[in-house]
Symmetry: C2
Subunit: 273 residues, 2 copies
């Protein structure tokens, strides 16, 4: 298990964001960045921008949980709540001359997430199988590029929730699709569309995308809790859940599942498990 | 935080047990070992003995939770449930010619637990303060010996539950005492007496033993869960809880609190938090 939930801000997200911020021009740094997110990406941008001395505006949905709003504010970001938060962020970006730090569909973000793959190979040079949850696809895209470049034969498997299977459907129809409805406990894996960049990389480099029901994600959470002492959020437990359910056809040799995030409070964990 | 809950069997306990097993004579190895424990030590003996190819008998209280019995059996130990389990284990030891692997009051067990201290110093050569929960006192004794030998000036603080403060009371009266009643959620810190060896070491090498109420242990569990993504059992969260409550007078410089174990199932965590 690659325990990315132990990263600063509780998920792998700061990797991509820190890399993206390093790619800003001096003028862009000066003006600041903006992003939209209801979850881990918001915390990551707020924290990383603050660490880099860059002003960050984070637009969150109007119904965002108070705890997540407070966390982003605590890291020093300006948080704006808005009903149509994605549209609003684009308008604000243009009005204020900010640079958008996209949650996943950006080569800089993808490359930063790929450092998880480099670390896995450093730990396990003979890696045979890699299992990664798919939301927008940034993590699996970055890891697939990093791992395939060095070890072309590694089997790479993505895992999506049945109720938020944008990548699976995109692969089926041959282009990135947008979902009309989302229905999963794994909010971290539930953007309403597959990215252009991430779709192209997944199509080329990922061997298989599995789709699993929420019950299997819950089994993954329970296993990580009781056997591994790790508090995974639903998105973070999808890869483990797919393994436990016997869905993963693994290659001979070491297998790694990424536990991508652990941002869940006690109350939500109690209501889910 | 030194995350000992991530060790095999979910606590620091295998360190002492593996060391103790290495000290057995060939004849003792051949005949096998016995122990008594309702908790983490039972799993550790069952696992370590199995790994070392030694037969293990584990005597547990008659009301031991099914899950813990099954875990010890799963690791390959013979589990016997008995009402007066400590007395019974001594009788069985003599009848069968087995060697007792004590949960804490044994120099071999203490020395093995001390390896936690060596690792802390390897990570933080300028360690200034160490905070460790006290049950029987094996962990803090081993760590204190290991750390004091190399860094005499480190401040070492023990933490006991208010309802199971055998070490605190022993220090107050000047000899190891036995408690008539135990009343704490931290079952892992609640043996009914302080050990002879551990008492002597704590008296000599530990700067202060703090006593904290269960509410502060719960705050430690909640913090470790939500902020550190770690599932600590109550015993494992005592040192963190004491820190959060502001009870620890720390020396200038790096501080380490040990998260000693994480063996708690979802149902118990839900009922506690």
């Amino acid at each position: 298990l690659k325990a990315e939930l132990l990263q600063k801000t509780g998920s792998f997200k700061p990797r991509g964001v820190l890399n993206r911020l390093q790619l800003l021009t001096p003028e862009e740094r000066e003006r600041g960045v903006i992003t939209f997110s209801a979850g881990n990406h918001a915390q990551a941008v707020a924290w990383a921008a603050s660490a880099a001395g860059i002003r960050a505006t984070v637009v969150m949905p109007a119904q965002a949980p108070e705890g997540k709003v407070a966390a982003a504010q605590g890291y020093g970001a300006e948080v704006i709540l808005h009903e149509h938060f994605v549209d609003y962020v684009l308008r604000l970006r243009d009005e204020r001359g900010l640079t958008l730090v996209h949650p996943f569909d950006d080569p800089g973000i993808i490359a930063g997430a790929g450092t998880v793959g480099l670390e896995v190979l450093a730990d396990l040079p003979d890696l045979a199988t890699l299992v990664v949850g798919i939301g927008g696809g940034g993590l699996i895209s970055g890891m697939a590029v990093a791992v395939r470049t060095q070890r072309p034969a590694v089997r790479i498997i993505g895992v999506e929730p049945l109720g938020a299977n944008a990548m699976f459907r995109s692969l089926a129809v041959g282009h990135p699709v947008r979902l009309d409805t989302l229905n999963t406990i794994a909010d971290g894996l539930a953007p309403p569309y597959a990215g252009e960049h991430t779709y192209a990389i997944v199509r080329e480099l990922v061997d298989e995308v599995l789709v699993i029901p929420d019950e299997e994600i819950l089994e993954g959470m329970r296993f990580l809790f009781e056997r591994c002492k790790l508090v995974a959020e639903p998105a973070g437990a999808a890869a483990t859940g797919a393994l436990l359910a016997g869905r993963v056809r693994a290659a001979d040799g070491p297998l790694v599942a990424v536990v991508s995030g652990g941002n869940i409070d006690v109350a939500r964990m109690k209501s889910l498990l």
